[in-house]
């Protein structure tokens, strides 16, 4: 039966809308990155290579409208199979087809929406199983896993984020399947897990554990027969296979192959070195753990009062899952993968403390104080999580080495040169330029062993006639040719050599354009000598700004 929306529900809904608009407001603003302009066609977040990489691959996917092959400009025109888990890119790029918002901006806005969606789903699950007030507290606590949604901008973890965003829906489908015994929920569960797998296969493993534990507990506690279990398993496998069959051979053959190469293109960006110090703020860590311990004690004391008989089942489930994940934590999933715990510990960080706090508040008989404490607590939690995150992001953004001037030079190349142009980038950021300008580029990055001689020559006041460098390309597997059990698991992939990967020496005249950063480098006088020499030789400057110069070499 569908329930009517009561006045109380509308009040709560209004409250939720206000809270989430608060978060969404921050989210769509993209913090200090966009200056409130989501119409600007440029990567708004310029910190870690993840931030560049995923938004750029989304843009590439959107442009070529295909996830079967990598874009030609990365593979020197060779069709190369796409080994990356595709779902994040398919989602963001296909969504982008319906809006005029630039893909670079849209990508981060969508990530923000996922961050809001997760606590909303938690609220609905809590409300269903434990009541509205516990739902609100749980939602506020569930913001803890996503409290650093702004952090996603600067750190990455976008694929992980999408993989976990559908887990609450999976929990809901699992519960509904056991309640209604409808095949649709079974097959849907397989689809959801498959979607999670195609977003991030390894995170799907954790997501799967979550679903599996709930499924097993429900199976046992509801005394379902072996036949029922097999039926569910079959529906699940069917849903999973439908969506993952095409990608599974790629996963078996070489998960991440290709993706890692593209990552290396962008890996020299200005990743802030101070990430670990604020990634898991120590004070919050102990604050939350203390809160969990307190809530558990209260929960045990109040268990009979707060939980209805019908809901005890779900509570047992989450205690079991929470314990299981604690064991996993002990098993050593630590370090920079803390983000995983934020999601995995929904059950332990949000569910159980949510019930515990609700039980504690139940002792306060005065309705106004009782409700006020709940609402006030939610606001306090939100502010506690938001302020340090926002402050840190301002600091992080200052560390970015990728400036507007560099982006404008990239845009000039992309918008004003033929697609088959050969570009020579002097000094650095070759990777970024190749990826974003979508032109094959010659790598003469400063600081590489093979470029030392070039820069020494320039700094001694002599213009080199030839330059040592390399093209970097992405070509691993050309095609999935046949079914063959053996060397390459299930399928035989035809591997191809990377063309022109070796270090070569090229004369300046062999390039169509020369792009150089003439200010703000460690060897500014040397680059300026180069630039002056280019002018003296009569090469026209086709673009310039306070940082970058672009010369046209071929006539």
């Amino acid at each position: 039966m569908k329930t009517k929306i009561s006045k109380q529900t509308i009040t709560i809904a209004t409250f939720l809308v206000v809270i989430f608009l608060l978060f969404a407001g921050f989210a769509v603003r993209n913090g200090p990155f966009t200056d409130l302009d989501l119409s600007k066609d440029a990567p708004p977040v310029r910190t870690t290579h993840d931030a560049f990489y995923h938004s750029w691959v989304t843009k590439a996917t959107s442009d070529q409208e295909d996830t079967r092959t990598w874009p030609g400009y990365l593979t020197q025109g060779v069709d190369s199979e796409w080994f990356q888990p595709p779902m994040l890119y398919v989602f963001a790029s296909s969504f982008g087809k319906l809006t005029s918002m630039p893909t670079y901006q849209l990508f981060f806005v969508l990530m923000c929406l996922l961050g809001i969606l997760i606590p909303l789903q938690i609220f609905v699950l809590f409300k269903k199983w434990f009541g509205t007030k516990t739902g609100i507290i749980g939602m506020a606590l569930a913001l803890f896993p996503t409290y650093n949604w702004l952090m996603f901008y600067v750190l990455g973890y976008y694929m992980d984020f999408l993989a976990f965003a559908v887990v609450p829906l999976g929990l809901f489908f699992t519960y509904q399947y056991f309640k209604t015994n409808t095949w649709g929920y079974g097959i849907g569960l397989g689809l959801i897990f498959g979607f999670s797998f195609l977003s991030h296969p390894f995170e799907a493993f954790f997501a799967g554990l979550n679903l599996l534990l709930v499924g097993i507990v429900l199976l046992v506690l509801r005394k379902w027969s072996f036949k029922h279990s097999i039926k569910l398993a079959l529906w699940f496998i069917l849903g999973f296979i439908i969506i993952t069959a095409y990608y599974l051979p790629f996963f078996i053959e070489g998960y991440g192959a290709g993706g890692s190469a593209v990552s290396s293109y962008l890996s020299i960006l200005g990743t802030p070195s101070s990430i670990p110090s604020y990634f898991w703020p120590a004070t919050f860590h102990w604050f939350i753990l203390g809160g969990i311990a307190l809530s558990l004690i209260v929960l045990i004391m109040q268990y009979k009062k707060i939980i209805k008989d019908s809901n005890k089942l779900m509570l047992i489930i989450f205690i079991i899952i929470g314990a299981a994940f604690l064991l996993m934590l002990q098993a050593g999933f630590e370090g920079n993968r803390v983000m995983r715990y934020h999601f995995l510990f929904y059950n332990f960080i949000a569910f159980i403390p949510g019930i515990g706090i609700a039980a504690l508040l139940k002792n306060i008989k005065h309705k106004l104080i009782h409700d006020g404490l709940i609402l006030g607590g939610v606001v306090v939690l939100a502010i506690l999580f938001m302020i340090p995150t926002y402050t840190q992001i301002n600091n992080v953004n200052k560390n970015s080495m990728f400036t507007d001037d560099k982006w404008e030079a990239i845009r000039y190349i992309k918008d004003n040169t033929p697609e088959d142009s050969s570009i020579f980038y002097l000094y650095g950021y070759f990777h970024n330029f190749q990826a974003f300008s979508q032109r094959l580029s010659f790598n003469v990055d400063f600081g590489r062993e093979y470029t030392t001689e070039t820069y020494q020559t320039l700094c001694s006041g002599t213009m080199p006639e030839e330059y040592k460098g390399m093209f970097e390309t992405l070509s691993y597997y050309k095609e999935r040719s046949k079914l063959a059990v053996g060397r390459n698991s299930l399928f035989d992939f035809k591997a191809i050599d990377r063309p022109s990967e070796a270090i070569t020496t090229k004369p300046l005249e062999s390039f169509d354009y020369v792009v150089t950063q003439y200010t703000g480098t460690q060897i500014q006088p040397c680059i300026q000598f180069f630039a002056q020499n280019m002018v003296d030789r009569g090469y026209p400057v086709v673009y310039n700004n306070p940082t970058m110069l672009i010369f046209k070499v071929t006539t």
Partner: protein, 125 residues
């Protein structure tokens, strides 16, 4: 048939609430941000079309509460629409153009909306 459709359209009240939140968001953003209105407007429309409507049309066939309907239709839409677009691309070579996206959304929504009729015709003895 008309009565059935009218009755089913009556289930779209939670959808209207979601749409209201989206409109409110666009309104706030258009006042406080430098973003072009057309970008915000098309984003809001895309959100309702891509991330709410298809999942909603599927879930109205189930006996779940309004809250669940409004919230879970979002991840379900994302899962179903994205998956179908992906499968059409990799299995049939259909590019992920605006037409593909719109057709996928329309097909899922229509099938979901008329599922009761489709089911009764498909499985009638």
């Amino acid at each position: 048939m008309k009565i059935k459709i009218k009755k089913r359209l009556g289930l779209f009240k939670p959808f209207a609430y979601v749409a209201l939140v989206v409109v409110l968001g666009i309104f706030v953003m258009s006042i406080f941000s430098k973003t072009k209105f057309v970008d915000l407007f098309t984003f809001g429309l895309a959100f309702l079309l891509y991330a709410v409507l298809p999942g909603y049309c599927v879930l109205i066939n189930t006996k779940i509460e309004d809250w669940e309907l409004a919230v879970f239709s979002i991840p379900l839409s994302i899962v179903v629409v994205t998956s179908l677009i992906y499968l059409l691309n990799v299995l049939a070579g259909i590019l992920m153009s605006i037409f593909t996206v719109l057709i996928v959304i329309i097909v899922i929504s229509v099938i979901g909306f008329f599922w009761t009729e489709i089911k009764s015709k498909l499985f009638r003895k």
